[in-house]
């Protein structure tokens, strides 16, 4: 019965059926299936399939958005019942830089990190540099992950790193950067610790720092 639910919730997320994903999450909890197991066997593999379909150009932006919505519809229901410590396996402050609203990539990274036990403090999109600096000082994340899709707003990443140095926060947090125009060259140039091309790389990186499950 559990296997059937895992398959159905997986399918719902892959096709982007938001309502069905939510319904199946509630059903799973009602059937006393462990919410972490539903996440690991149903939701995480679904996003892996979605990501693969995107890489193969079978899925595009609209499908990615729908599947992400379906994932979160289910995950937010399950998360309420998950036994997660305050810091989980690690705390990640994540957001899109000032002037940019494109957050699908950031959301995919957040999905994968949360589904794998990391606590994500999501700053959202169009986040001013000073807000990142204040939040780093306030919540002491292990990781700060910044995203942008546009080349003009890459400057905000550089200035955020400079701000961390000026505020004496740089050695207290590992910084990862990502987004369409970003590269390892840019990452090194601005003094960040990591560049990721996709959410799987982001997970591998944070796990390499905190240790795998």
């Amino acid at each position: 019965m559990s296997e059937k639910l895992f398959k159905e919730i997986n399918d719902a997320v892959v096709v982007g059926d938001i309502d069905e994903a939510g319904r199946l999450a509630r059903q799973g909890l009602a059937d006393n299936i462990d919410p972490m197991t539903i996440t690991e066997k149903g939701l995480i593999p679904a996003m892996a399939i979605v990501s693969e379909k995107y890489d193969k150009k079978e899925y595009y932006l609209p499908q990615m958005l729908l599947s992400s919505e379906a994932f979160y519809e289910a995950f937010n229901i399950l998360k309420a019942k998950l036994k997660v410590e305050t810091t989980g396996r690690g705390k990640v402050l994540i957001g899109v830089v000032e002037g940019d609203v494109h957050d699908i990539g950031k959301n995919l990274v957040k999905i994968v990190l949360e589904a794998n036990g990391f606590v994500c403090v999501d700053m959202g999109r169009d986040v001013p540099i000073e807000d990142y600096l204040e939040k780093v000082a306030e919540v002491h994340p292990d990781f700060l992950m910044l995203s942008t899709l546009m080349t003009p707003t890459m400057l905000s990443m550089k200035r955020t790193l400079e701000g961390l140095v000026e505020e004496g926060l740089r050695d207290k947090v590992k910084v990862g950067v990502g987004g369409g125009p970003i590269s390892w060259d840019f990452c090194k140039k601005i003094g960040a610790d990591f560049y990721g091309d996709n959410e799987k790389d982001a997970l591998k990186w944070v796990e390499s720092i905190v240790g795998k499950k």
């Binding site: 958005l65 000032e98 002037g99 609203v101 125009p181 590269s183």
Partner: protein, 267 residues
């Protein structure tokens, strides 16, 4: 001397204006293509028999009677949706144009950093390359920053409202291609949903002074109505494009006087 111009269809209006208003450019030849059709017609209307077409670059012969002429290739909108398509398309056509040109003007910017290392891609070309630049000499980010008059102007606008969609005449002409086809949305309702998810709220009409402003405003209003955006307007500029052509002409004049080698790459 021949200036090779390789540009995106989205900038067709701006290019037609710059080419038709430059007193040094005596002739414009287009390599025929679907994306070039409207530019050819528009320039014919402005320059008459100073506009020519060839089916292939191989058919082009420089005109010994003119000091500066332009050989033009226009590539279709939306190439930037796939990095390899944009990079390969620009590289291929730049190489073709360079065989018949003394200098190449690329009517592209960094375009999401897809063209960041375009000079390396084009290493070994017969002729120097000029790319549109900000005042500080950095390559312009993309067509939006270009028509706004520079990257800083773009940043000023997105700091006012991050969810801003910028429109020009060329952009409005091609919006359905760019938003429906290139984003692989099944319909406009899906595009509207995507915009809502991304929190786009404003359409900014960029008026560079070319064409009919009332017509641009009317098209902007139609676009805004489809997506429930509020409208604002800003003055744009063709300075960056005009500077690029100016730079190309200066470099060719220097070359004629023996002051520059063939292998100089100019950003």
């Amino acid at each position: 001397m021949v200036i090779g111009l390789l540009t995106c269809e989205v900038l067709e209006n701006e290019m037609v204006h710059v080419l038709s208003h430059d007193p040094d450019i005596k002739k414009v030849t287009f390599i025929e293509s679907d994306p070039a059709a409207d530019s050819i017609a528009a320039l014919h209307g402005l320059l008459g028999d100073r506009v020519a077409t060839v089916k292939d670059a191989a058919d082009f012969l420089p005109d010994p009677e003119v000091s500066f002429e332009v050989l033009t290739v226009i590539l279709r909108v939306g190439l930037h949706m796939d990095k390899a398509t944009l990079r390969d398309g620009v590289t291929e056509h730049a190489r073709i144009l360079s065989e018949k040109s003394d200098i190449l003007v690329l009517g592209y910017g960094l375009c999401g950093n897809v063209l960041l290392d375009i000079e390396k891609q084009l290493a070994g070309l017969n002729c120097p390359i000029v790319m549109p630049q900000n005042q500080d000499g950095s390559t312009i980010d993309d067509c939006v920053c270009l028509v706004l008059g520079g990257t800083q102007k773009y940043l000023d606008q997105v700091r006012r409202e991050a969810g801003t969609w910028f429109v020009t005449p060329g952009w409005l002409k091609h919006w359905e291609t760019l938003l429906v086809k290139e984003l692989h949305c099944p319909d406009i309702a899906t595009v509207k949903w995507v915009f809502k998810k991304a929190d786009y709220k404003r359409v900014l009409m960029v008026d560079t002074g070319i064409g009919n402003c009332d017509s641009l405003r009317s098209e902007t209003e139609k676009f805004a109505a489809v997506f429930d955006f509020y409208i604002e307007e800003t003055k744009g500029s063709l300075d960056i494009l005009e500077r690029a052509f100016g730079q190309a002409k200066r470099l060719m004049n220097n070359k004629e006087r023996g002051g520059m080698g063939n292998n100089v790459k100019v950003k």
